[in-house]
């Protein structure tokens, strides 16, 4: 296989080299680790919250702390790409934060108020777009209410597009267990959506 991408030096170190550097205590690679993984972390956080929240930087930091810890302590089995690993950890950090906020009943009360606010007169396209945004907000809210392992499996599979075998490796369960979480998670989400529609 001929690999593209130009000069290998310009591409920077491989995932393997980065992981080896972290495990050998080479702090010189900190910048490379950040640059390699920021995209995955940032996108995962953005997709869980639907925006960059006021504490976005703190969440990015928390995700990187977890990433470095798992790499240093050899919890990363190198069975998936480093970006995939980072997005899994960021998703976990984001859902934890989302659940904490739900408990505090701040964000979603505010969001619920936003959804309930009367909309200005708009064309049917704008109304449809606003409706779609409200649907996405509702799905995020409901995911945060679900069991963490189910919500994260559904998110990793249906939102971030990871396949079941990868999710099984990353969450340290069998493929059958991952599939069960996915099926149950989707069903639970659908039930919650139906229940909410009936109540509104």
């Amino acid at each position: 296989m001929i690999e593209g991408g130009g000069d290998p030096a310009a591409r920077g170190p491989t995932d393997e080299q980065l992981v080896d550097a972290v495990q050998s205590g080479n702090s010189q690679m900190a910048g490379q680790v950040y640059d390699r993984l920021l995209g995955a972390v940032d996108h995962a956080l953005y997709r869980v919250f639907g925006r960059r929240e006021h504490d976005h930087d703190d969440l990015v930091q928390a995700a990187f702390e977890q990433i470095v810890l798992t790499l240093s302590r050899r919890s990363y089995a190198r069975a998936c790409s480093l970006q995939t690993w980072a997005s899994t950890i960021a998703t976990h950090v984001a859902f934890n934060a989302l659940r904490a906020r739900r408990r505090e009943r701040r964000v979603f009360d505010r969001d619920a108020n936003n959804v309930a606010e009367p909309e200005p007169p708009a064309s049917s396209d704008l109304e449809r777009a606003a409706g779609a945004r409200a649907d996405l907000e509702r799905v995020r809210w409901l995911l945060a209410q679900m069991k963490p392992e189910r919500a994260e499996t559904v998110f990793l599979h249906d939102v971030l597009g990871h396949d079941l075998a990868e999710i099984a490796l990353m969450t340290r369960v069998s493929v059958a267990a991952a599939q069960s979480r996915l099926v149950r998670g989707r069903r639970e989400l659908r039930e919650r959506l139906t229940k909410e529609q009936l109540m509104s």
Binding site: S27, M29, A30, G31, Y34, Y46, L69, S72, R73, L136
Partner: protein, 393 residues
């Protein structure tokens, strides 16, 4: 709708979440966060390495501790048999195992520290245990590591570092400016307090700047928060809660002279974008950054001075005076942190420090350059300086 169709709808909605476009971040904010997190990743990697080394050494330490314990037990047995000693005053454990209040990480220019009535130059690596007063001369800065973060004392400033307690670390800014960055949130119940003569700034985990100074015998405290949240306390009462982007200023009051300045006379630091605000607030006011930036004359009149400082740096550099050049560029950056010449000054600063043989300070300055200008014109040079230092370790 049949069940499979409804499930498909759920999957389709989730797919929409995955297609959400992620907007590009503001470059300045991204660069600032990069600097902070890269530093954190570096220290985490080092800490984990140390932890794993200690884990290897632990069995040997345990054996040594067991031997020491055996000797200790024998000593205790002998002391029971000996006559009772005279009672002595109990020594508090904290006095023996006192936590450090901070350590000097970067010293640029003329920075002094006064401890137990003795004044000496602050050196990188100097550990502050509390009770010291750190003073910076004009065009000088000092970076002090505190808790999990750092405090950068601006030019012509004076800071008293108080002894830390289990619940609190306290810095007393007598004059000048201090920029604090705590990447980690402190544990519950713990605070860092930056105190000025007329206000206290309570910190949990954030980044902000405090200035204390003024003109013609009047002074006030100004606080600018970049990240997180801080509380302003006056007279023991909470006056304001500031979030990222907020600014606050206390009412102008007669300047409270710093007690016994260490080496320098208190010099008022004129900060760009602040000096032009008209009028004197009768009570503490939260100031909108945009409003302040648009105030007439906010930025006027500084460019000539910035050019003069920059030119002084270049002249010193061309004369082969690396230390003098570094001081001039540091002074420019300390006085005008948002200068239009900032990128050039940062680049010249780390180059001058390197030429002066101050490789550690040069690497810190080079890292600062890279954090602010990851694709700047001096990137290659800055990377060489930072990697050179790490390679030496």
């Amino acid at each position: 709708m049949s069940e499979p169709e409804r499930l498909d709808d759920v999957v389709q909605t989730l797919g929409e979440l995955g297609k959400t476009a992620v907007p590009v971040e503001e470059p300045q904010r991204a660069a600032y966060r990069r600097e902070r997190i890269v530093r954190l990743i570096g220290s985490s990697i080092t800490a984990e390495k140390r932890r794993s080394r200690n884990a290897v050494a632990r069995p040997w330490l345990a054996a040594a501790a067991a031997v020491a314990l055996a000797f200790g037990a024998a000593g205790t047995w002998r002391s029971f048999r000996a006559p009772a000693p005279k009672p002595v005053a109990a020594v508090p454990v904290t006095a023996v195992q006192r936590a450090t209040a901070g350590e000097a990480r970067l010293v640029s220019g003329d920075v002094s520290v006064r401890r137990n009535d003795k004044t000496f130059s602050l050196q990188v690596g100097e550990v502050l245990v509390g009770g010291e007063v750190v003073a910076t001369a004009p065009y000088s800065v000092a970076e002090i590591g505190i808790a999990s973060g750092r405090a950068e004392l601006g030019a012509s400033s004076e800071l008293e570092v108080l002894s830390p307690t289990a619940k609190e670390r306290r810095l007393r800014l007598r004059t000048g400016s201090i920029d604090v960055d705590l990447p980690h949130k402190l544990e519950a119940g713990k605070h860092l307090v930056v105190e000025t003569p007329d206000a206290e700034v309570l910190v949990v985990g954030t980044a902000f700047t405090v200035n204390y100074g003024g003109d013609q015998g009047a002074a006030k405290t100004e606080v600018h928060v970049r990240r997180g949240t801080v509380w302003i306390v006056q007279g023991g009462k909470q006056r304001a809660v500031l979030r990222a982007g907020d600014q606050w200023a206390s009412a102008t009051s007669p300047a409270i002279a710093p007690a016994a300045p260490a080496r320098i006379a208190p010099v008022v630091v004129a900060h760009r974008g602040r000096s032009g605000r008209g009028g004197t607030p009768s009570r503490p006011v939260a100031v909108n950054r945009a409003t302040e930036a648009n105030a007439p004359g906010a930025d006027s009149g500084t460019l000539a001075e910035e050019n003069r400082l920059f030119q002084a740096g270049l002249t010193a550099r061309n004369a082969g005076d690396g230390a003098g050049a570094a001081d001039a560029f540091s002074g420019l950056l300390a006085r005008y942190p948002r200068s239009v010449l900032r990128e050039q000054a940062l680049a010249e600063q780390f180059r001058a420090l390197e030429r002066a043989g101050r490789s550690s300070a040069a690497a810190v300055a080079a890292r600062r350059y890279l954090a602010s200008y990851p694709n700047g014109f001096a990137r290659a040079d800055a990377e060489r300086v930072t990697s050179g230092l790490l390679g030496d370790r």
